[in-house]
Amino acid sequence: MATAQSTSILPEELEESGREPVVAVQDIHKSFGAHKVLNGINLTVNRGETLAVLGRSGTGKSVLLRLIVGLDKPDSGSIRICGEDIAGLTIDQLGGIRKKMGFLFQHAALYDSLSVADNVAFPLLHHNKALSKSERADRVSQLLLEVGLDGNLDRMPSDISGGMQKRVGLARALALKPEILLLDEPTAGLDPISSREIDELILKLQKERQMASIVVTHDLFSAKIISNRLALLDQGNVLIEGSFEDLERSDIAFVKEFLKQ
């Protein structure tokens, strides 16, 4: 069994060893009004590694992702992305760091007034202005092909299934060739077959691109397949962190209860 205290590597230790994590979350606190969501959480993710964040609903898993991408600000603590502390950065200063991250939202959050192709092209249009129209179209086709979509370019997000929306969201998240991929419940609301297809897709992308990934999920099977390491959150902190086998060997009642699902 591995607990959060025994396996979590603090950024200072990694800096000393010369191997800084791509994402380093240190002592993060976050409250919404009187409700404390995160209570001094520590997490690190290295290049090429996939961390699955598990926990009951409302334990702050999605909030953690929003803090990492800078959509919300922590009350205290530090978040370092590729060595740079993002606390206190303005929205434009955060832009440079966000280009290194791809974010798949829980409900895909596709732009509903744009076609599938335009959704994927959106980040390219704003950040790769040197690309010609045809180069951009080629890149979009290539990205959609990569996530297993072909021939759906002109359809609107409302005309495609939930699983396809997730794939389009994933293609959009990959458009700027991110070093870090953040996935918020990638298989939520999908049937088992679509869920496994998304899992396989994520595994394939990890293998090809060697990104650091954080996957928030309730799907234990998915977490087991796609992650190298798991962190189980409880009461705003990491209760246990380690491999799936570490979690299975744990004597903690909550972990046993959680794995029963």
Partner: protein
Amino acid sequence: MPIAAISTSAIAFIGDFFEWFGNLGIFFWRVLRAGLTPPYECRELIRQLDEVGSKSLPLVALAGSAIGVVISLEARYSLSRFGAKSMFPATLVYSVIQVMGPIITGLVVSGRVGAGIGAELASMKVTEQIDAIEASAINPYRLLAATRILACILMLPLLTIAADACGLLTGWFAQALVEPLSFHQFVESGFKGATLNAFLPPTLKTMVYGFIIGLIACFQGMRTRGGAEGVGRAATNSVVLGSLFLMLADVVLVKFILVVFP
């Protein structure tokens, strides 16, 4: 006990009132800072100019035409009573261009564009599309708010000119149906002795209306919470607050214009 409850509600209302203005000020500052610094979202601005301008034109022209006919009918009746029928062209010209054209255009655009912007941005907010824009390293204050507000500022004077033109044309036509009055006579008599100062400030003041409509609609849309109900509330508040502040601003602007351009 009821007095205590009333005072608590009053304190909460005053608190909310000042909080709303404080948040509006912060929002405006973010939009201003984003709008003035590159990269400039020219493509989105052009799209918004079309949304606000071209697509509002038929409605604004219709409203302007209706107002022209109404003023024509009312003015003919009133002026006849006082034996001042010869003042009809000037009355129509000044009423439409200085008073009714700008305010009617402002209210029509507030209803159509304000509600549209409020609902669109609110819908994007509750479906996390604005977060997705921000997560893609694009500043939503620049892309969504600054472009819409600037489009409203730039298009309002042009729409006002269109409403004025339609109002004058239909007003003249309504009069010409009753009494012979050539368009040439009408224009010559109506604009006789008029300076640019008489018509330019009332038209340009609609840029302030545009700023108010755009700012309030974007603010209401981008701070929405709570699903479909929140979207509906944002659209309603955009129109109600936009129209209210527009009319309050008109009071100040009319006085300002009278003092500065006597």
